[in-house]
């Protein structure tokens, strides 16, 4: 059995341990066996775990707060939030796609198949989709595409078409093109050939609006792209949603660590990314 630090008595997936929390409690702390964990480029890893029944109820845009193993001789003291990348209900698995940026994610990267990952979730407010929409536009940057990826599942289930504009440094870092390829068109825009420039992306969005292929906007991962979608969304009356990030502690709502500024009816207010979001109304977000 993997070393289990601290006092927790979480639900152990696959061991038939009774769930601690009664059924009306939607999220839980669970220990999930790692199924596979592979590098997909020099910085990003793809993690697949066996998930508990409560975890499997996760919706696109929601996240889990992960207790990452330590990458060094010291400890990690706070969890790290990661949004769900793919929900595989058939095999009862949940997938994450993350970029290694610091101690938490480098520690996470040390997990091997068979190890247990302690996750709290599912947490937060996910993406909403309106079944009357015919075609939506997804615009993401870098690892923000991991958060947007499950929209492809949502759109697929609702029979809604998607144009996914995937922005990255170079072709190596384009994510989720395979997932979006199944439900619509993929346009990769890159720094390496200058196609990721805001003016170029703006031209693509304007074309989609003109072709009436933009019933709603979704974005994550870049302040420039958020501001662009916000501006065009406002000008053309297109509803939109943005998935935000902020450093978290509890991930559950009480600590007020994860606040960001939003503007509603001309009034600025602080909201918690973990429970009021992470998905917010595009027009209410002030900056990423």
């Amino acid at each position: 059995m993997a070393h289990r630090p601290f006092a927790s008595a979480p639900y152990v997936v696959g061991k038939g341990a009774p769930a601690l929390a009664p059924t009306h409690i939607p999220a839980e702390e669970s220990l999930c066996p790692v199924v596979s964990h592979d590098w997909i480029n020099s910085e990003y890893k793809h993690l697949v775990v066996d998930a508990s029944p409560k975890a499997l109820a996760v919706k696109p845009g929601q996240f889990f707060n992960l207790l990452c193993p330590s990458p060094d001789a010291a400890e990690l003291w706070l969890r790290r939030p990661q949004s769900v990348y793919r929900i595989d209900r058939e095999n009862r698995r949940i997938e994450f796609l993350y970029k290694c940026v610091g101690r938490g994610t480098f520690g996470l990267a040390t997990l091997e198949p068979g190890d247990e990952l302690n996750m709290v979730g599912p947490l937060g407010v996910g993406f909403a989709i309106d079944r009357r929409w015919k075609h939506i536009v997804v615009l993401g940057r870098g690892v923000g595409l991991a958060t947007l990826a499950p929209i492809s599942q949502l759109a697929g289930e609702c029979g809604i078409g998607v144009t996914a504009i995937l922005s990255a440094r170079s072709a190596e870092f384009v994510m989720a093109d395979d997932l979006f390829g199944k439900v619509g068109d993929v346009i990769a825009v890159l720094d390496s050939d200058a196609t990721s420039a805001v003016e170029h992306v703006e031209a693509i969005l304007k074309r989609l609006i003109a072709q009436r292929q933009a019933d709603a906007f979704y974005t994550c991962g870049s302040n420039r792209l958020l501001q662009l979608m916000k501006r065009l969304g406002k000008a053309h009356g297109i509803p939109g949603q943005v998935a935000m990030e902020q450093v978290m502690a509890c991930g559950l709502g009480p600590c007020y660590v994860c606040v960001r500024t939003f503007e509603v009816d001309g009034k600025k207010e602080l909201r918690r990314v973990c429970i009021d979001g992470p998905v917010f109304d595009l027009q209410e977000a002030v900056g990423w």
Binding site: F6, A7, S8, A9, P10, L20, A21, P22, I25, P26, A27, E28, E29, L67, A74, E75, L76, W77, L78, R79, N118, V120, L123, Q246, V247, A249, C250, G251, L252, G253, P254, C255, Y256, V257, V259, R260, L270, I275
Partner: protein, 315 residues
């Protein structure tokens, strides 16, 4: 069956395990059954809206975390009209926590918050990050006495005074709070600290200084609980760095009648429930019929082996 209940003055808790203010809200019902807790402890409120400190508001440090939330609050009106009814969906007693910068405002807050829905008033005179320099009432005996006396004269509710480990002489502050009429002491709030980001050379958190919490502070606070328990007659609630069952037992042996848990909720939210179950099992196994019998049961003499070793000739 072990009797898990404890009495804090006139208030009976079904067990001695409570969440700590600021680390708890009804949002936690997403992951645990709140009706299992000894009490519900609300986030500190002040009279007016406060936005709190600029992000980032936390940073990891060895042994826990450092925070500078800065007591954001929607104010007392919102607390009473929205948050209190929300807490009342659950059965454990409700502890309301108040903060202010003047004695007059503390008095008015105490009066306004003393509604029938509130079972206990926790007086937070010790938040180190509300004033950027870390100062507060709980650093001074006479300030502590004056504010607690005024609150005592204002309300019939049980009042718990939350002390600061940043005070030079915590025992003296504890005595002033008792003398002023506090019903119990919460020992304690966070320890003022500083973390520097070595990439930017700037403070790691927005407020520069922050409050240290988590297992790293536990031995310090256990020592303070022990010292305060020897000096006052009112019950003490231990708070600081509890992450497992053994920590709760240590606090109780040192003299705490109950405990509050903050950091663990971030680390292992299901742990707080596991500790309640674990404590009951532990008492049964060790033959304690009442968990309350653990309070102050520490034996002061050092382990005998120490003497034996010291007595042995060296070399």
């Amino acid at each position: 069956m072990v009797d898990m209940s404890v009495k804090i003055g006139s208030v009976t808790l079904q067990n001695p395990i409570m969440p700590a203010s600021g680390c708890f809200s009804t949002d936690l019902a997403q992951v645990i059954d709140l009706n299992r807790l000894g009490a519900l402890v609300a986030k500190t409120v002040s009279r007016e809206f406060r936005a709190g400190n600029p992000p980032p508001r936390v940073s990891e440090v060895e042994g826990g975390m450092i925070n500078s939330i800065g007591l954001p609050t929607k104010g007392i009106e919102y607390f009473l009209s929205h948050q209190v009814p929300d807490y009342k969906r659950f059965s454990p007693p409700l502890v309301g926590s108040i903060s202010a910068t003047t004695i007059e405002d503390f008095e008015a807050m105490a009066r306004d918050v003393s509604t029938s829905a509130i079972d206990v008033l926790e007086v937070n005179i010790s938040c180190p990050t509300r004033d950027p320099k870390g100062g507060n009432f709980a650093l001074h005996e006479e300030h502590t006495f004056n504010v607690m006396r005024r609150i005592r004269q204002t309300t019939d509710k049980p009042i718990w005074c939350k002390l600061s480990p940043n005070a030079g002489d915590v025992v003296a502050i504890a005595k002033s709070a008792e003398l002023a009429g506090a019903d119990a002491l919460v020992v304690s709030n966070t320890i003022l600290g500083l973390k520097i980001d070595i990439n930017t050379f700037r403070p790691a958190i927005g407020n520069k200084f922050g409050g240290l919490s988590g297992p790293g502070i536990k031995p310090i606070i256990v020592r303070m609980v022990y010292q305060c328990a020897k000096a006052v007659k009112i019950p003490i609630i231990g708070c600081g760095g509890i992450v497992k069952l053994e920590d709760v037992i240590e606090y109780m042996l040192a003299g705490a009648s109950a405990v509050m848990i903050g950091y663990l909720i971030f680390r292992n939210p299901s742990g707080i429930i596991a500790i309640i179950d674990g404590l009951q099992e532990w008492c049964a196994k060790r033959g304690f019929a009442r968990v309350a019998d653990l309070t102050g049961a520490m034996i002061d003499e050092a382990p005998r082996e120490t003497y034996a070793a010291a007595a042995a000739p060296i070399g």
